[in-house]
């Protein structure tokens, strides 16, 4: 029983990252209809900006400047979001009238470029992020296991961000305008709302979420140019299972699949990396729109 509880908690730990990333993907897909393949690269970028801010600025610029973990939690999503604005305004905007596949190819290209750039300068086997705050460095006795404080923090923090996002989109006035703009852009624009700006900000928000997940992941996993590539395929499967575009679907299926993967690691470890895809196949067979998706 203790083993199951411990593994469930570890699974949840992985699950919150799936949830945060698939949430960003779902927001972008649900509102913009873009399959953003660069999402994993933005997650990687988030981790690298935090690492560079903490370890390399001083070395590179020669002035005493170190951006700590807490500041990174705010700054990094803004910076990655800004990159999102640039990508949307300069590149994606030109593709809206074309088939989905063009957006996918473009964002895949962006991924390859970003990965290539970072592989050139950083160790591919991963660089540790040394900036984990002292206050989160211990372990907590949960009765059934000792759990690293930082991981517990990451779980709680991610859950808060996920549900705040859901609440914002589903239950606020701004959120409902956003959904209206997506549902019928011409009509919404006629009511005086700036739809192109809303789209840009939505993309930036999704990118920022990925960047934020990257900062959170940096102290747990090593910061490596391939960290996003390893994760993005799984996250796509999570989004498909949850239902493309469904906000709550992305969050719940992210958490659930993290749990399932965690338990598979105990029951039959070699299947741990494939169990999610197996489930994806089942879901596609029986509920093609995903567990929480709406049939169109």
């Amino acid at each position: 029983m203790q083993v199951i509880l411990a593994q469930a908690l570890l699974g949840l730990n992985v699950g919150v990252f799936y949830a945060m990333l698939s949430l960003g993907l779902a927001v972008i897909f649900g509102l913009l209809n873009i399959i953003n393949f660069a999402h994993g690269a933005m997650y990687m970028l988030g981790a690298f900006i935090a690492l560079i801010g903490y370890s390399f600025l001083e070395q590179w610029l020669g002035i005493s400047l170190q951006i700590g973990f807490w500041a990174s939690l705010i700054l990094v999503p803004l910076l990655v979001g800004l990159l999102g604005v640039l990508i949307e305004r300069l590149l994606l905007r030109r593709l809206y009238d074309l088939d989905h596949i063009y957006g996918l190819l473009l964002t895949f290209g962006i991924t390859l470029i970003l990965q290539g750039l970072f592989s050139n300068y950083f160790n591919v086997s991963g660089t540790p992020y040394p900036g984990q705050p002292e206050s989160l460095s211990g372990v907590v006795n949960l009765g059934f296991m000792y759990f690293p404080t930082y991981r517990l923090f990451a779980i709680v923090f991610s859950l808060v961000v996920c549900f705040a996002t859901w609440f914002f989109i589903e239950h606020t006035k701004l959120g409902s305008r956003l959904r209206a703009g997506v549902e019928n852009p011409d009509l919404t624009q006629a009511f005086g709302l700036n739809v192109p700006l809303m789209i840009t900000l939505t993309f930036a928000f999704g990118a920022g979420l990925a960047g934020l997940a990257g900062v959170l992941a940096a102290p747990i996993y090593s910061v490596s140019p391939l960290m996003g590539a390893d994760l993005i395929i799984v996250v796509f499967a999570v989004v498909v299972i949850g239902g493309m575009g469904s906000i709550m679907g992305a969050i719940l299926s992210g958490l659930a699949l993290g749990l399932i993967e965690g338990l598979t690691k105990v029951i039959y470890p070699p299947a741990a990396s494939t169990v999610i895809f197996f489930l994806m196949v089942l879901v596609l067979l029986f509920r093609p729109a995903g567990l929480f998706g709406k049939e169109k």
Binding site: V3, A6, Q7, L10, G11, N13, V14, S119, N120, N123, V124, S125, G126, T127, P128, P130, V139, M145, Y146, P148, Y150, R151, I220, Y221, S222, S224, L226, M227, D230, L231, G262, K265, V266, P269, P270, A272, S273, T274
Partner: protein, 405 residues
Amino acid sequence: MFKHWKQGLVGAVTAATLTLPLTAAGALSDDKIKIGVLSDMSGVYKSLEGPGAVIAAQMAIDDFGGSVMGNPIEIISADHQNKPDIGASTAREWIDAKEVDMITALDNSSVALSVQGLAKDKKIITMNTGAGSTALTEEQCSPYGIHYVYDTHALPVGTATAMVKNGGKKWFFITADYAFGHSLRDNTGAVVESLGGEVVGNVNAPLSTNDFSSYLLQAQSSGADVIGLANAGQDTVNAIKQANQFRIVQSGQKLAGMLVFITDVHSMGLDIAQGLQFTTAFVWNQNEETKAWSERFHELHGAMPTMVHAGVYSAVTNYLNAVKETGTDDTETVRAKLGEMTLNDMFVKGGKIAPNGSMLHDMYLVEVKKPSESKSEWDLLRVVSKIPADQAYISMADTKCSLVN
């Protein structure tokens, strides 16, 4: 048809007569010695070999005096990008058009095997310092292929033997779930059991696993003395980092890495890597001689040498010694001389190159220091014990190399 053949023959004879006097004048085939450094200059193995290998080779040439019997010694280098076909085509060009006499570095076993195979046909010596596969000296051994620094027999066998003898009887493996991981685990497990130890568990983790914590907790609850990491690169680094988060070493279990380089330890940091044991062929601050050389290397490269960097220096030095002593760059003669020599330099003491190409030398079991024990940025390792050459490497009685039996 006949006419062309005749012209060709005339051409060949003319060419031969033109080059003949040159050969006689220089004692070497082309009036110079050219050493090819073929490595991963941009990818996964860049920091453990890569550009540092070129620096090490240049240091060897400079220390040798820059020339042999009045003939200059040159270096040529290239990036094989971890692709066997690129490695082989570069080597082919070097041998055919650039008159390369010896090729070294060659990290990445698949590249090393393809280049060694080509060099065998072309009769060129390869001194591989970076690749690990024992196939290089076993099933696919070559009369001109030398395996210089370490192999996948020496690494796990060395580590496991020493750790079992130091009390680590019960082992749990976290294995990268593909051929390399499985063979590393099987090799290691066999040694553990032959010494009276016991393998209490194993978990096959998919390659490029992000989160090892689940596997680590299984290892922890197994009650094993040692957690053997039968993986490499990013997987090893991730596993060690997460073992630290869950205080696995602090609570009494030992981690054993099967393939770890000092650059990995440096990038992980002592907080995370402390207590990790692994096998290496070289420790930069082991004695005054290694220290002096490594500090020179550090000045040129900005990082301390891995065992592979030190091995390149030693390989090039001994190759040049053999050329000098025999007075020729003829492959058969130089290889025969290398086989007779006892290698002694800052990297190796009493090394011998066996008929199968394996360079037999002592290895060291090292442990990563605690942060409080480290005196400087690169003061990272403590030697736990020496693994004698005859234990580390496959004996000539057991080798599957067709050149021996």
